[in-house]
């Protein structure tokens, strides 16, 4: 059919040519020749045009051809009544002239006919457009309109162009619609942010009327809303949903405030820079759990240990009033939040009055919780004061019960809210302390409470049973750690904090609240403990290395000052001496001492690590020393620890509870907690300590460096909440990295990771190809001092640095 059309046109032309030549009248010769030429040209053009259409050979073009056929026929029928063959008659210039006059003024029939035909196309193009839009895809219509323009442009000047202008304008509008659309997209995007329902409708409409004239106006109005933004809208919705959730959570939390758990929530909110919605949910969940858990745990603890119950009951009754009083006093001088916390604690304590322990724990926990939270907010100085005061108050009466309760409370509450919060806080705080250095005030504060706690702990240790060896040991350890920092203010403070935090981590957060408690600075309120303080100070003098155990303080009190002096000078010496003392102390004193020593040792190593680094001493040497010390300590501890573990089940229960609570928390906390509590609950604290000591859980790269580099590479704004995720990712990355490098080195039977090992790793990861050599990357990313190590530089005198060993 198409061919027929084409043939018709061609036939027409042929007819024109054939008929014209024999009949060339005089008048029309020129015109005829012209027309012939024009016809030929137009025909050729037209044929070419048509052939172009044919060349496409696709359905739209076929449709075009049909439309053209229709047009031609219509044109012929209407304007030039003759069919193809009739045109020949027309050529005879009888009718054509008239028709020509109608449409074209030149006067030659074939030419005029062709011109008319051509003109008719554009004239009818709008109609075709409409039909095409309705019946056919838009392309053919566009093509027809566009193609129609061509002949008009080619053949005629003014007349056709007038007609085609309309079509051209319409098509141009249709084509140009996109541009204004795009420019409006920004505003549309903004509008979409506000309301998204209209977008879909508009877009759907737009799709249909992209080129149609009828919808052009509507398009123009709706163009801004067109586009892919629907998808983005969906994404936006998600965001809005999130916000709603967070708001709801926030509201819920606000309600919680009335109950008294607000403090936790607030702190969670304040800390939520990292977790946004996560912490909120956590706090909500964790808060109620605390009370229930505490109560349950209390019962479990007490059911098993008869001795403890009696002791605790006594202590509990005594402690409550003192604790409350002390707390209230402290609150006055401190943050409002802390006050609220204590009030809550008192309330909680009253609630728990059914059990002696629960109340104690509640009192202990809450101050601890408070401390944890407040510390997180204020970086611990004030909170420590509270906790320290609280502990100080409790200590004189019956330290054992307090510590045990603290341990229980810590495990429960700390694990849930505080642990999550405190862990993160600790991480942040630790990093800060590590990087920036603790303030002197903290050291001072830490010293006083710690000293007191130490003495009490020592007494407790001797008396305490095996029930809470794990619980006591960390707490005692922390106390000892705290004491040790009296003289070494800055270093000691940092170390203590580090140790306390690390110990906390190592023990899954059980210790942390205690450490904070210990870290608090008792102010004048603790006059009663001045005596203890003095003793504690002497004991604390020892601990630049933070290694003396609680038991040690009693016998080695005399030796402590001596050690303290030496400790200032050399950490290693202290470690050695402390290990020795620890060993002795363990053997002499109660069972939990070894645990403490373990903690102490671990913390001591950690503390040693930090000052060592600060001193810029050879890390290799220190590490070796630390390892040696650790090995010694572990051996000793193992021997001594076998006896004290009488209630592993109890401890296991506590840990199970703690772990289960932690698992319930959102994944954001899991990352931090899992590493700490990845050990099976059944393992003893000693085992955990050993593992942590062996693992030397380094926090990894500091926060400032990580964020700085990440922001530099990102080149866009980076929110601060990416840090925990980023840290976790880097942890995993370093794990794999170290593993791979070690494998490569071992494969090469070497004990040192070499440059070629790392280069092989880069190659395997795909950063280094044949196209991209290693040197390119080196030059791109590394500093000059590092580059000097890797790429030999030739200096004067034929001196190449670094020296090539090959």
């Amino acid at each position: 059919m198409d061919t027929t059309e084409d043939l018709s046109a061609r036939v027409l032309l042929k007819h024109i040519l054939t008929t014209e030549t024999p009949r060339t009248p005089i008048t029309r010769r020129t015109s005829k020749t012209q027309t012939d030429k024009k016809a030929a040209s137009s025909g050729t053009r037209r044929s070419a045009r048509l052939s172009k259409k044919d060349a496409g050979g696709q359905t739209p073009q076929d449709i075009l051809r049909r439309s053209l056929k229709h047009k031609i026929r219509e044109s012929i029928s209407t304007k030039s009544p003759l069919p193809v063959k009739r045109r020949t008659t027309v050529f005879r210039n009888t009718l054509t002239s008239a028709r020509a006059s109608e449409l074209f003024d030149e006067g030659d029939t074939p030419r005029h006919i062709l011109m008319n035909i051509l003109r008719t196309e554009p004239v009818k193009s709008p109609v075709v457009h409409e039909k095409a839009a309705s019946e056919e895809p838009q392309l053919p219509s566009a093509n027809s309109s566009i193609t129609s323009k061509d002949p008009s442009i080619e053949l005629s000047g003014l007349e056709l162009s007038d007609i085609t202008i309309g079509g051209a304008a319409s098509t141009a509008k249709g084509l140009s619609k996109k541009r204004p659309r795009r420019s409006l997209n920004v505003t549309a995007f903004e509008k979409r942010l506000q309301g998204g329902d209209d977008v879909e409708d508009e877009e759907s409409i737009d799709n249909h009327s992209s080129l149609s004239l009828s919808s052009s106006t509507s398009l123009s109005l709706k163009t801004p809303f067109v586009d892919v933004h629907t998808e983005k809208r969906g994404l936006q919705r998600r965001v809005s949903n999130r916000r709603k959730i967070t708001e709801e959570e926030f509201d819920a939390k606000m309600q919680m405030e009335e109950v008294g758990s607000v403090v936790l929530a607030e702190q969670g909110l304040s800390e939520s820079t990292h977790f946004e919605g996560f912490t909120l949910g956590l706090t909500k969940l964790s808060e109620p759990d605390i009370t229930t858990d505490i109560i349950n745990c209390d019962t479990a603890n007490y059911a098993q240990t008869d001795v403890m119950t009696s002791n605790f009951s006594i202590v509990a009754t005594q402690d409550k009033p003192t604790v409350m009083v002390s707390q209230l006093q402290r609150e006055m001088g401190e943050m409002e939040q802390e006050e609220q916390l204590e009030v809550e604690q008192s309330q909680l304590e009253r609630e728990k009055s059914a059990y002696v322990f629960p109340t104690e724990e509640g009192a202990v926990v809450e101050p601890q919780d408070e401390d944890c939270q407040s510390q997180s907010e204020k970086e611990g100085t004030e909170a420590q004061n509270e906790e320290g005061k609280h502990t100080a108050d409790c200590q004189p009466e019956d330290a054992v019960a307090m510590f045990e309760s603290e341990d229980v409370a810590e495990s429960q509450t700390g694990g849930r809210d505080d642990a999550a919060e405190s862990e993160e806080d600790e991480n942040g705080v630790e990093s800060q302390t590590e990087e920036e250095g603790a303030a002197d005030s903290q050291t001072e504060e830490d010293v006083a409470p710690r000293s007191q706690s130490e003495e009490e702990e020592d007494a407790e240790e001797c008396q305490s049973d095996q029930q809470d060896p794990a619980g006591n040991s960390p707490s005692e350890e922390e106390d000892v750690v705290a004491d040790s920092q009296t003289q070494d203010e800055n270093d000691g403070e940092q170390k203590d904090e580090h140790i306390s935090r690390r110990a906390y981590r190592s023990e899954g957060g059980l210790i942390m609240p205690v450490t904070r408690v210990e870290g608090d600075l008792p102010d004048s309120t603790e006059a009663g403990w001045s005596e203890e303080k003095s003793k504690a100070h002497s004991a604390s003098d020892l601990h630049s290395g933070l290694e003396l155990g609680g038991c040690e303080s009693s016998p080695p009190h005399t030796g402590i000052p001596d050690w303290a002096e030496s400790s200032n000078q050399g950490l290693d010496q202290n470690d050695v001496s402390s290990t020795e003392t620890e060993l002795d102390a363990d053997k002499e004193n109660s069972f939990h001492l070894p645990e403490l020593t373990h903690d102490m040792e671990d913390s001591g190593h950690l503390s040693d690590a930090s000052p060592e680094e600060a001193a810029a001493s050879d890390p290799a040497e220190q590490e070796e020393e630390e390892k040696e010390e650790e090995e010694e300590e572990w051996e000793d501890d193992e021997e001594s620890e076998e006896v004290p573990m009488k209630t592993p089940a109890f401890v296991k229960e506590k840990r199970n509870f703690f772990l289960s609570d932690l698992l319930a928390s959102p994944t954001a906390f899991k990352n931090i907690q899992s590493s700490d509590e990845g050990l099976p609950p059944g393992k003893t604290k000693q085992v955990r300590q050993r593992k942590t000591g062996a693992a030397k859980r380094e926090t990894g790269l500091p926060k400032s460096y990580l964020m700085n580099v990440f922001k530099h590479f990102a080149k866009t704004k980076v929110s601060a909440d990416v840090y925990p995720v980023l840290k976790d990712i880097m942890d995993k990355f370093f794990d794999r990295l170290a593993d791979d490098l070690e494998t490569y080195a071992v494969h090469a039977k070497r004990k040192t990771i070499e440059v070629e090992d790392v280069e092989l790793l880069l190659r395997r990861q795909g950063y280094v190809n044949d196209k991209v050599p290693v040197e390119v990357l080196i030059e791109k990313y590394l500093r000059m001092d590092q580059r000097k190590l890797l790429i030999p530089i030739a200096t004067s005198g034929n001196n190449v640095v670094p020296k090539r060993r090959r």
């Binding site: 995007f189 983005k232 994404l235 965001v239 990292h274 946004e276 690590a609 680094e613 890390p619 380094e698 990894g700 790269l701 500091p702 460096y705 580099v709 990440f710 530099h712 590479f713 990102a714 080149k715 866009t716 704004k717 980076v718 929110s719 990416v722 925990p724 995720v725 990712i729 880097m730 995993k732 990355f733 370093f734 794990d735 794999r736 990295l737 170290a738 593993d739 490098l741 070690e742 080195a745 071992v746 004990k751 040192t752 990771i753 440059v755 790392v758 280069e759 880069l762 395997r764 990861q765 795909g766 950063y767 990357l777 080196i778 990313y781 590394l782 590092q786 190590l789 890797l790 670094p802």
Partner: protein, 75 residues
């Protein structure tokens, strides 16, 4: 990048199971590896944030990208 990566060596050594040493030259190489990793991480996270039409990189962007990238950086 302008600052030496603090505690990089000790971090790596803490992660290794066996007892291996790290040469300063290879420490520089390890820093190169970490920088490359962070670079690709940041780029991917930026693309993901862009995909959500957010000019700020947030934690969930990074988390969504991390798994794929860690798999790639296995070697």
């Amino acid at each position: 990048m302008l600052v030496k990566a603090p505690k990089l060596k000790s971090t790596i050594k803490s992660k290794t199971k066996g007892n291996v040493n790290v040469r300063p030259a290879s420490e520089a190489m390890i820093e190169l590896v970490t920088l490359l990793f962070l670079n690709s991480l940041a780029e991917e996270a930026k693309a993901k944030a862009f995909e959500e039409k957010s000019a700020t990189i947030r934690a969930h962007h990074v988390k969504a990208v991390s798994k794929k990238l860690l798999k790639k950086a296995r070697g």
